[in-house]
Symmetry: D2
Subunit: 363 residues, 4 copies
């Protein structure tokens, strides 16, 4: 187990998809911080189920902060938040109790928790738990933005056969803001329609599809990250890989480096006015595990939602024999669409935690 993450900003997550609630605790917030209610709601809406391309489950994602605030401001004490579950149809999941969904956590949960895990709706493995991450991420985003002008944003680089262009070396706050407001954010014009009709086709066929999300942070000062063993990439990838469905993370050119020579890959330094910058940003803003002042750029690969309507081969764990399974619950054709604010939350939390770490060091 470790439901607690972080060293300077510390989060503890709990809850189940079809239990009483999902929620968590955020520890280490500075006292006197006004809760950024609008930002939290904006971010939760981006993640929210119920859209055309999302699961049909209706949750208004309303939350209650049950500790750590007084008169609308943080107190320095741990802040606990609870999202009560409302629209639960656990009957949908009875079959999965004995027949694990292929590539889902059903089977490993049975093994690991000796059959005692809450299987309903994926239990603790459900994407619904990310509501808390988005909440905590909004607090982190707010601090990063106010303290240091750091802004984050992301777009869909690839959704099945629909491909977007990657971020340029220079990324503006306006661009990131614009992306945040889109239901399906792309950098390239005119592919939104194409993506929508593609996903509707996928949905109709009872199938799902994977995707790649590209994310950036701008305004990040040089010097954040603790090499061996808390490199910026280590801490961020560790957190990203806790998001359900993530199966790949790379930074800058990432896997593309395999085909590059050093002379092509290296980012030459130059003086940009009075500050140091690089001409290219193949490194994604990170050298030796430490931010170098250029935009942080990374990609996150999501697998297709394993819950699909099509009939699949599995086993019946009661009988220990092969069986057929068709999942009738409510699911997304492409979870990545709703996962963008979750990825950004992970980035904001990793940035804040490591920035505070550096401050303790030099304090």
């Amino acid at each position: 187990m470790s439901s607690t993450w972080g060293r300077n900003i510390k989060i503890t997550i709990f809850g189940e998809s079809h239990g009483t609630c999902v929620g968590g605790v955020v520890d280490g917030l500075p006292p006197g911080m006004v809760i950024p209610v609008e930002l939290i709601e904006f971010e939760l809406r981006r993640r929210k189920p119920g859209g055309n391309l999302a699961t049909a489950r209706k949750e208004d994602d309303s939350y209650e902060i049950i500790s750590g605030i007084y008169q609308g401001m943080t107190t320095g004490a741990p802040l606990a938040v609870v999202f009560r579950n409302k629209d639960i149809r656990s009957g949908d999941y009875e079959e999965m109790r004995s027949k694990p969904r292929p590539s889902h956590a059903d089977y490993v949960s049975m093994v690991k928790y000796n059959g005692f895990g809450d299987h309903r709706g994926g239990g603790r493995f459900s994407g619904r738990l990310t509501a808390f991450l988005v909440f905590a991420g909004a607090l982190a985003k707010s601090i990063l933005s106010e303290r240091g002008g750091i802004e984050v944003g992301s777009h869909l680089l690839k959704v099945g056969q629909v491909e977007d262009q990657p971020f340029e070396t220079e990324i503006s706050p306006q661009e990131l803001k614009l992306l945040g407001g889109m239901e399906m954010p792309f950098l390239k014009d005119g592919i939104n329609e194409k993506a929508l009709s593609y996903l509707e086709k996928i949905k109709k066929s009872g199938d799902s599809v994977g995707a790649i999300v590209e994310t950036a942070a701008i305004g990040v000062p040089a010097g954040i990250g603790e090499p061996f063993f808390d490199s910026f990439e280590s801490v961020l990838s560790g957190l990203l890989y806790s998001i359900p469905g993530v199966k790949g993370v790379d930074f800058g050119k990432g896997f593309g480096f395999a085909e590059m020579k050093g002379s092509e890959a290296n980012d030459s330094f130059f003086m940009k006015g009075k500050s140091v910058a690089t001409i290219t940003n193949n490194s994604g803003g990170i050298n030796g595990g430490i931010t170098n002042g250029m935009p942080i750029v990374f990609k996150t690969a999501f697998r297709p939602t394993p819950s699909i309507g099509k009939e699949q081969e599995t086993i019946d764990m009661d009988e220990m024999e092969s069986a057929k399974l068709s999942v009738s619950g409510r699911h997304d054709p492409c979870i990545a669409v709703r996962a963008l604010p979750v990825v950004e939350a992970a980035l904001a939390l990793a940035l804040l935690d490591l920035q505070m770490e550096g401050e303790a060091l030099n304090g």
Copy 2:
């Protein structure tokens, strides 16, 4: 800072490329374990500098265990090990003191440590520190192999333009052993020559190239990994991203999932004799952050060594103006070739740490 990693098997790393030594501490080893001297030396040789395609630096990588053993066996106390540095030519690095190498840690180190970092040979950012990881990994491999028949191995999936085939769904211990014995391990026959001549050409041109390493572990039981926030992928990727040069990590189909449908991507369960298995292994042996009993398969992308002989654009930090730099030190054309045992060490350490975690839970 965090030079300490792990919860059940805990490692602390120290040392610099051109300082007194590199080394570290391994805590949590079971008492009474015979030090696997041959395995340690075998693994260190795989990582060792001095080969044809490696840096010309000569280090015999001899080590001294200075605590935690008695009569050749572990005592239960922390084991500390030291690799003294011998073949040091720090003069090679004088120029880099003020002229940071593009894409290397030189610049971020100056910023983060206010100019006090040991810049010689990359200091603490040097790949030489991975000698300790390989040492600790050999201890972990030995425990995993003896306790539970877990074996690990890897090959070069891609080196510049040379491409190997990926692991099959079924992987045998013999296959992994064979790969361990090769200087440049490939699965495909007849590409070794091609790769050698390719790398020699790269080296002659004073350049370097990136690569992708594919790694597997077999014999891994289902149930290892702690979702939120210590998923198997989280813990392993966190450790991998501490290895110098790593810029990408994905599991199973990883980034390839972006083009797959759920119906293609899902690994159907079936009864393989009396045990549960999956027909395909697109998930790389991990569902919901927990091992499912299939081989663990993941890829690690390495950037080209930033230290190249070719002249590069940089800045002179004393003058804060642009400058030229040609690196004359001794460097690898492709660090990934020597990094295979380091990646495997990370895998073995992550596996052991999380397996012990699970045992505490169910104990």
Copy 3:
């Protein structure tokens, strides 16, 4: 900040005295454990406010488990619990907003949290937060008792001028059980009356008094504790010193050792049937930071409740000048009386955490 404690059984605490609730998260519980409802309620009653000698605040200490259980059993997921606050009279505390109570946390809270802390009823510094510790401790007690026959108990060794006798070398489960059932547990007969009338006198005079609690655990196997830096004493004292009001902890003869010679203090070994035991237990069951199989015995000193009715000297923080203060809230004459189950909870949690640690090591 660190509202999270433990490595194998991990607790995160939150809440405030006069906010929405107090509560916490328990992570690392084995799956399939039946919630020991009766034991939890028994322990909560022991800690409960409202008795004759306790604060007049009425809280039924009812709780809601909001995650981590399914069909009355643990699932392996983090268990979160919430105790809603009901009987709140925050008006009592308005004066303390600017006039810190002597020896209370009011002043340091103002400094540390820049005046943003929730001051009502002591906020996060309130003893009310220990309700969660008692809850978590009951879970730990239940596991220790069922898995290994470990039982814990305590008595009041000293309350102002009333002094009890210490535990004998041999301690029986019956004796501990008996103590658990007493409102004011003493080992010596006939001092209960004396203590009651003493405390009533203290209460009437608007004053409070300190106390020493002596606690024991029996059935503890040898080998628990991790010297440097998680000795049994380190881990337990660290947790005890988080309980509001604790100002002293010692083990076995503790401070009494200062007057003893080695020849008097050493506990000679002998064969007790087929097992190793010691004739005396001056060490309190711990040598070198590790349990030795004898009963664990330690003392915890509580300061007098700082909130007293008598008029006191303080300062007015708004005016930065001296001021008078009489506290009119509801307070205990001797918090130690209600703190016994809290001390035992700390012991049970420390024991369980360190026992699981040892199991991971030897697994």
Copy 4:
């Protein structure tokens, strides 16, 4: 296991009494710090064996810093230090291999490490490991003194029948400095002789005696400590209880609070010029787990050295039958005399770690 302590300043300890060395790693030091060589040597001399009242073992306690420094200054990388063992007479310990010394760690070590522990000279349980703590503590003291004018010091409050007076409410830097220079520091005049002759008598009789050390830190700002679960008392007592021989720790009046009323115990606030102070300091400078700006004052109780020359009852673990044992090794009559710098090191490390924690919070 946990040989690593701390969050912001992190130490990892290793080594054995009669192995190759003792030593450790200090992580989190600010870069550019000049190694305080004189202070380190001064502190090591205070702890050093070989004095009249100390074990006859001769170790010059010379050390080698093997990483983390460059040109005499810290680099920001982990600093590793090694004290090689020289004067080893392991033959002295052959008998203890099977006959555990009463109240020593011999027996629990056999049980915990299945007989594989290094028993020579107490192995990892030896007081010799504290040489590293004193080294690390000197670095911490140096930072605390330079950054914020914090000074620490201690005296022997009680050694068997010899009793000193406690610290006054006001403590001056001069007073602490004076104590640091004494071989046997007392506050009261004229008891030094008495103590010396008392200890010589104890030594001649082949016995040992316990003691209480009282320690203070002055210049400590208000606001250090993290209640639930890293109260100042929690963190410091946790570290103190890792020092071999410590069996009691209390703060301010500590165990004396049991006989005090709130009206006597409470420390009234007053304006001391422009700053807030308290008239008395019964709380030892800590309220609610957080420093209040007054001197930190605490007591540490040491048990008598268990290794005594007198014949003792024990068991022969090979035969599992009773046996006699006379320890012939070289031992201190009162370890507390040499433990003062170790206690101060623990205080300095705890202060520094928690002060940095607070800075990260408010950064």
